[in-house]
């Protein structure tokens, strides 16, 4: 029975482990510690979210770990799941301290409203100087310009007043039917018990062995929403994706 218990615990381990988790309750994730007065930027982004439904994360990192800022941004975007799945209306402003690089990554759903040249020019104009002078206002201005453009292009869907925060933002409809899942679970548990009763768990052991061996290459994948169950109010995790749209620069 002890082996059975261990196997059940193993089954409950999450598949993906993410390297960087969003800080709950904010849109500004200053892991490199280079921003000041970030609450002003956070409330500006929150205001944009209320008016347009666009989720945005500002993330600073000390380094990029041997990756290009473009690849780092696209993976982080998908890992955090910024924006809702299918809509993909999310934005990620990624700032690296060493090297001093910056990137605005645009979700699939905003590529029409925010062309690369538009975000690129404004990234250079506002974000570069703001970082060099440690002036949060430049970043706030950048958010305002993106918001203005999103509204002008008709891509804004204002939040409905009174909508429950923290539930609506993470809800996705891609889960399997719970009843079917329950029936399958009961059948599997019954089979596992039978196996342990009569063969000492040989069949389950063999299946798990092949599953675990097979699952290993999936371990490092960046899948959105894997931390959705953790406590605190995470702002993202809707499963939004980007495809390399946006622009990069140095600061």
């Amino acid at each position: 029975m002890k082996r059975l218990y261990i196997i059940l615990v193993l089954l409950m381990l999450p598949l993906a482990v993410c390297a960087l988790s969003p800080i709950p309750g904010t849109n500004v994730h200053d892991f490199a510690g280079i921003l000041s007065n970030e609450h002003l930027l956070d409330s500006r982004i929150e205001a944009m979210y209320q008016r347009t439904g666009v989720e945005m994360a500002v993330v600073t990192v000390p380094d990029l770990g041997n990756e290009s800022i473009e690849m780092y941004a696209v993976k982080l975007f998908e890992d955090w799941g910024i924006g809702k799945k299918g809509e993909d209306k999310g934005l990620l402003l990624l700032i690296s301290l060493n090297p001093r690089e910056m990137r605005i990554e645009v979700g699939y759903g905003l590529e029409g409203a925010l062309p690369d040249s538009f975000v690129g020019v404004n990234l250079q104009k506002y974000v570069g100087p703001a970082l060099a002078n440690n002036d949060i206002n430049g970043l706030i201005e950048f958010v305002a310009i993106l918001e203005e453009r999103i509204i002008a292009q008709g891509d804004a869907v204002p939040r409905v007043a009174g909508e429950t925060e923290g539930i609506s933002r993470y809800e996705t409809n891609d889960g399997p039917n719970p009843l079917a899942g329950l029936i399958l679970f009961v059948i599997i548990v019954a089979l596992v018990l039978l196996d342990f009763r009569f063969t000492g768990g040989m069949i389950v052991g063999a299946i798990l062995h092949s599953l675990l061996r097979g699952g290993s290459y999936r371990g490092g994948s960046y899948r959105g929403g894997s931390y959705r169950g953790s406590s605190g109010r995470n702002r993202y995790g809707g499963g939004g994706r980007s495809g390399g749209g946006g622009a990069s620069g140095k600061w």
Partner: protein, 197 residues
């Protein structure tokens, strides 16, 4: 009395063996069906992701004439670069299979990289607003190609390792699921070109 007990014991044993055999058959059946289904859906996701790659290759293809014309306005005598771009572009248009498309797109990528080197010699061109806009669009497209290529290769890896692994390999052979081709990037092209102003 004893005879009846033996009979009950035999019956009980028989039932147990029958249950175990049925359980094993059920498990094998389930794993066969789910292996086949997962192969089908993985194969389809490779196709879908290749479609994303093709979209971005097409976007690059469409952007090139505009870019080349703008550069020609400032650097008309760099004929060699323009020709290599035109050749690679024509080759991409005629490419049918995935292998041909990959080869042609890598050729186009290196031709574009040479164009970016040439551009460095023309400060007036780099100051041109329209050129800047085109360069942002081009580097954005190159980056999108890199991203979709990475995702395509991830899907191919997932599919191929499934096809080659026991016991799925049995089902793969039975239904003719062969390994898929990776999109190998040209050397040094893993990082998209970037505009520096």
């Amino acid at each position: 009395m004893g005879g009846k007990g033996d009979f009950a014991n035999i019956m009980k044993k028989g039932t147990i063996i029958l249950l175990v055999v049925l359980g094993v058959i059920l498990l094998i059946g389930i794993s066969f069906v789910s292996s086949y289904n997962s192969l089908v859906s993985l194969n389809e996701s490779v196709d879908a992701q290749w479609g994303q790659v093709e979209n971005q290759l097409q976007a690059r293809y469409d952007k090139i004439p505009n870019l080349v014309n703008t550069v020609k306005g400032y650097a008309s005598h760099e004929q060699e670069v323009f020709e290599s771009i035109a050749n690679a572009r024509a080759r991409l248009a005629g490419a049918g299979t995935v292998e041909e498309q990959v080869a042609a797109s890598n050729q186009l990528e290196s031709a574009l990289a040479r164009l970016l080197v040439v551009v460095e010699n023309y400060p007036n061109l780099k100051a041109d607003a329209q050129f800047n806009q085109l360069m942002y669009e081009l580097s954005g497209t190159e980056n999108r190609i890199a991203v979709e290529r990475m995702r395509y290769n991830e899907k191919v890896q997932e599919y191929n390792s499934r096809v080659k692994r026991f016991p799925t390999v049995l089902i793969a052979n039975m239904f003719g699921f062969g390994p898929r081709t990776y999109f190998e990037a040209a050397a040094g092209a893993e990082v998209a070109p970037r505009v520096e102003f």
